[in-house]
């Protein structure tokens, strides 16, 4: 049942076993998993079923570090940011969960195997098709399209695409029809109120932009308002715990991570484009899935060289020819020597070419892991939003060492192509002392309520429960301990399904 919060009488108290705050990828996945169980579930969503500027405006805030767009990087209505996500999906690598002694603050309290069954289910939720991410045989179309043999440092990995699933649209009926779920639209949770000891949530204070105020009294609360807003909600819940709920150790909001994106950090020249399988160059239908091949770095390489991960995409840019008109010719020195580099590769690997087309130049894109940094953080601004709540203040920090790491990874790519024989890499990433401006980012908001077994090191435990608060859970990429390299939503959904199982088990056991 959908209820418009703006029609709920002031002072109403809604009782429920489970309250889910936020109906995005995480909240909707959990609500669907809990549909038709023997428990009343209340799903509270800030927006309506469509975009409304006044509600979206609640997402605006202050950016004081590396400039970051708080508003356009997420959407505030039913379905959340999946109303405009791109659908790139891939599970994290096993090494992403490990404690890596060269990455301070790394190490999740769970590992990839803990998530494996949930990744398969998340793939279904995201309508992706067969789970063939790491299976070259499945995507090779009978051996026709083999991945490039790039040695021991660089590996081909495949993304699979969600259509992309608009969670609000696709799962609206499931949620609306579920007899045990009441969804309150246009309803903003303004504060999560615990008992006097701040050990248990008792009430949620809810408000609408039209001024209505009501309360939800749940036994269990799941906070699923997105990777930035989860931290803001905890910080705003400060009536009892002055520093914010679950923030006894000052960790809420810290360790904010993104995936810095760099446009064309390098170019790759390959003598013969037919050596490059179609799935590298664009979205490709294969074995019932829509896939894309990318370059990533092997766990052995990352360990041996003490590096963070990078994922690199690859697309056809231009033929390298000997007969380019002078006017057409790029004046950059690198372009002038490009045909020469192609001939150099041909001197030792391929046959010399009769035709004026010597090679193909490919452009690249990349997203890179950033090391967790406690000073990169979400705080409360002194400015207030239309509900009278402090807006978000974001201080995103990027470090020169993250950038140096990226450069080293591109050098590894250059080694790999050179050793393969038919390609060479041109690095375009300029050396810089600082990294104070992002060339791009993924709209991936991670780390602000990080997961750690030790309450001194994280906000939530391995079950995503807030340390010290017995009935408050967090869903979404804010729980990521480290950011990994690939897009987060498949992992968000996998963790959400795992959390739904956990909550359901607790109810079954009566705990």
């Amino acid at each position: 049942m959908f209820i418009d919060g703006r029609n709920v009488p002031d002072g109403t108290i809604v009782e429920a076993e489970v309250a889910i705050i936020g109906a995005g990828a995480a909240g909707i996945s959990i609500a669907r998993a809990l549909r038709n169980i023997d428990a009343r579930v209340v799903l509270i969503e800030s927006g309506g079923l469509d975009f409304e500027p006044d509600t979206q405006e609640l997402y605006e805030g202050e950016s004081v570090g590396v400039p970051y767009a708080l508003d356009t990087s997420r959407l505030r209505y039913f379905g959340g940011s999946t109303n405009h996500w791109g659908g790139w999906c891939r599970p994290f690598e096993p090494i992403d969960f490990e404690q890596r002694d060269w990455v301070p603050h790394s190490g999740w309290p769970i590992n990839r195997a803990d998530l494996d069954p949930y990744y398969v289910r998340a793939n279904e939720v995201c309508q992706i098709g067969p789970f063939i991410y790491d299976d070259p045989a499945a995507v090779s179309e009978g051996g026709q399209y083999q991945p490039l043999d790039l040695g021991k440092e660089v590996m081909t990995r495949w993304f699979e695409y969600s259509p992309p699933t608009r969670f609000g649209w696709t799962y609206r009926q499931d949620i609306e029809k579920a007899s045990n779920i009441k969804t309150y639209l246009n309803s903003n949770v303004m504060e999560i109120l615990p008992n006097a000891e701040a050990t248990k949530v008792e009430r949620l204070r809810v408000g609408t932009l039209t001024g209505r105020r009501f309360e939800v009294r749940p036994q269990t609360v799941i906070l699923a308002t997105g990777g930035i807003e989860n931290a803001r909600m905890l910080l705003l819940s400060n009536s009892i715990e002055k520093a914010g709920l679950g923030n006894g150790r000052g960790l809420v909001g810290r360790y904010f991570m993104e995936h810095p994106h760099i446009e064309r950090p390098c170019e790759i020249m390959i003598t013969d484009p037919s050596l490059v399988a179609p799935y590298y160059q664009t979205y490709t239908q294969s074995a019932g899935a829509n896939i894309r091949g990318v370059f990533m770095f092997t766990a052995d390489y990352l360990r041996k060289n003490r590096r963070l991960g990078t994922v690199m995409t690859f697309y056809k840019q231009k033929e390298v020819r000997t007969d380019i008109d002078v006017e057409e010719k790029d004046t950059e020195a690198a372009r002038d020597i490009e045909p020469g580099i192609a001939q150099l590769i041909r001197s030792t690997s391929s046959k010399a070419n009769e035709s004026p087309v010597l090679a193909m130049r490919y452009g690249t894109g990349c997203a890179t892991e950033q090391a967790p940094n406690p000073d990169s953080r979400i705080m409360l601004s002194t400015e207030k939003d239309a509900l009278g709540l402090n807006r978000t203040k974001i201080d995103w920090r990027l470090s020169p060492s993250d950038r140096a790491n990226l450069r080293h990874n591109i050098e590894a790519l250059a080694r790999a192509f050179g050793a393969w024989g038919e390609g060479r890499v041109r690095i375009r990433l300029p050396d810089r002392d600082k990294w104070d401006e992002a060339e791009g980012w993924g709209n991936h908001h991670m780390g602000t309520t990080r997961m750690a077994a030790d309450p001194r090191k994280g906000v939530v435990d391995a079950n995503c429960k807030v340390h010290g608060v017995e009935n408050l859970y967090v869903a979404g990429s804010s729980v990521f301990t480290t950011s990994a390299t690939v897009n987060p939503t498949l992992t968000i959904v996998a963790l959400a399904l795992r959390l739904a199982d956990h909550v359901q088990t607790r109810f079954t056991r009566g705990v």
Partner: protein, 146 residues
């Protein structure tokens, strides 16, 4: 520069046994020229004139000197360690260079020219072409070899 090789360059190329590589169909290599070390190495290049431009840029950017003899000896020494001998057929030389180049990439022995990452031997082959063509930077000894 364009594909066409100027008369001056052709003369220089012929002098070091390069022309066969640059214009394989047009100008057969003389036995005497074939035997020069620099000529043998340069003969493996698909486009010596373009290689020379790469070599020139590398030498300028690294303020590197060197003449044909220096570069040729360096490269030959590395190939020799892989069982190659002067006088081996061009295909054998080419494949020995190819192996060496791949080895250098595997072992991170790369140089950077305008962002391009090429192997050390490739860079030295290009420098050898530049020195032979006389396009190497001024401080480099002009080649009289061949």
């Amino acid at each position: 520069m364009s594909d066409a090789i100027s008369r001056r360059q052709l003369l220089v190329l012929t002098g070091v046994g390069l022309a066969a590589a640059a214009l394989p169909a047009a100008l057969p290599l003389l036995d005497r020229e074939r035997t020069t070390l620099a000529g043998e190495l340069i003969a493996t290049l698909a486009d010596p004139a373009r290689a020379a431009e790469i070599g020139r840029q590398w030498m300028v950017s690294t303020e590197r000197g060197g003449n044909t003899s220096v570069f040729a000896q360096k490269i030959a020494k590395r190939l020799h360690a892989r069982g190659w001998h002067p006088g081996d057929p061009t295909d054998v030389t080419r494949s020995a260079i190819g192996e060496r180049v791949r080895y250098e990439f595997r072992h991170d022995d790369m140089v950077e020219i305008s962002g391009w990452q090429i192997s050390r031997t490739e860079a030295e082959l290009c420098a050898l072409a530049a020195a032979s063509l006389g396009t190497a930077p001024a401080e480099t000894e002009p080649s009289t070899e061949g």
